[in-house]
Amino acid sequence: MEIKKTSLNKLHQSNNAKFVEFAGYEMPIQYSKGIIEEHKFTRSNSGIFDVSHMGQLFIYGDESLTEELEKIFPLDLKNLKQNCSKYSFLMNEDAGIYDDLIITKIEEGYLIILNAACKDKDFEILSNLLGSKFKMNLDSNRSLIAIQGPKSVEILNSIINGVDQLNFMTGNWFDSNNQKLFVTRSGYTGEDGFEISISNDKAEKFVENLIEKGAQLIGLGARDTLRLEAGLCLYGHELDINKTPVEANLRWAISKSRLSNGGFIGSKKIIDQMQDGASQIRVGIKPEGRLIAREKTKIFDDTDTQIGEITSGTFGPSVNGPIAMGYVDKKFSKVDTKIFLEVRGKKHPANVCALPFYKKNYVKGVN
């Protein structure tokens, strides 16, 4: 199958991107400055991420759409205000995760942002569940640009006036140069920032404009180190069809009001696990010293019994040390529990730690 390209591909090339294939797309892993510089620039200034490979699913319908979506997602959508976003999951009957996603209530419907590798299957699953009653559009005519970091609000507001008034996890339509953009204050780096949905033919010009105002293109490599420092899950690593949201330590994303009566796909398993606990749970892990423990590294207790596995591990540039996340048996999940990581045949000490590794405050109270 031919590799897909986003509308920013030429711009990536002219900025000396090193490309990798990701979910069938040719995507920039880094530019000439490298992952660590790009990471630090995002934390201190403003980084631009091409996330156009992700799915933008628009679903339109009347009030019955909300009812139908509540049978799928563990969210209180009836009480979700227009232009407000929630992090959620598409699950199977056993609460195994097909995908994690952001859903925003928009005028006459919902916008759901899906992972690139999952979007086509998600569309199929949702089409089967919702039937033909609602208009569904997995929109490939729109690009998705994230701008993240402390200077992003000033830079973006100079192009799209009014975005500074958005609270974290809210969005709205904006007009800029005679085009309709949907902007949410959100992101996946642990920084304040925005995601902008824009038609493909306007995307390159828009990003060039952001660069002129001082933001810089950042590759998927730094996106990964940023999200890991922020303790955020990546589908295919922390999350997959064999993991539930409770095991992934994402209880906070399940609306409390949905737990008493259930009625969403996977609710029985979720409610059971909320009461009895899950046997394995996702934790943060800090190796002692500088050793990096990557995905699939086996985790042991002090009696050499395997108790889990690393799902993501790298060097955290802002933490200035190695960081990881993984799943361990519940009794080893307390912060400061000593564990051992088997790397290249040797066991190295590490500690379970609180997430995130790196914390900044999101903008909550503009209005």
Partner: protein, 126 residues
Amino acid sequence: MSEVKFSKEHEWITLEGDVATIGITKHATEMLGDIVFAELPEKGSNVEKDGTAGVVESTKAASDVYTPVSGEVVDTNQAIIDDPSKINEDPEGSAWFFKLKMKDQSEMNSLMNKEEYDKFAKESTS
């Protein structure tokens, strides 16, 4: 000091008396990206030509470091263990990896000179 020689695994080597100094090439560091971890062989251990003699990790992945010649490890560079970013800054100078007391100096003969290596590196990238 002898002429700098290079291996196909992207190590460089110089010889002074019977002691060889070994590191990884600038080209290797450019391929690896930001190096954030280095592991070196133990002093006093013996390493065999083309065998593994350490590990470097970038933000992206781990890579083995090989030794282009055999010998006993007589010194290792603690500075690159303490601050692996030095490897990106000066790979073919102060960021050497280890020194070996060579057993058989004829092992140097099969290695590439600078011109040959540059050509090899260019071809292996494209």
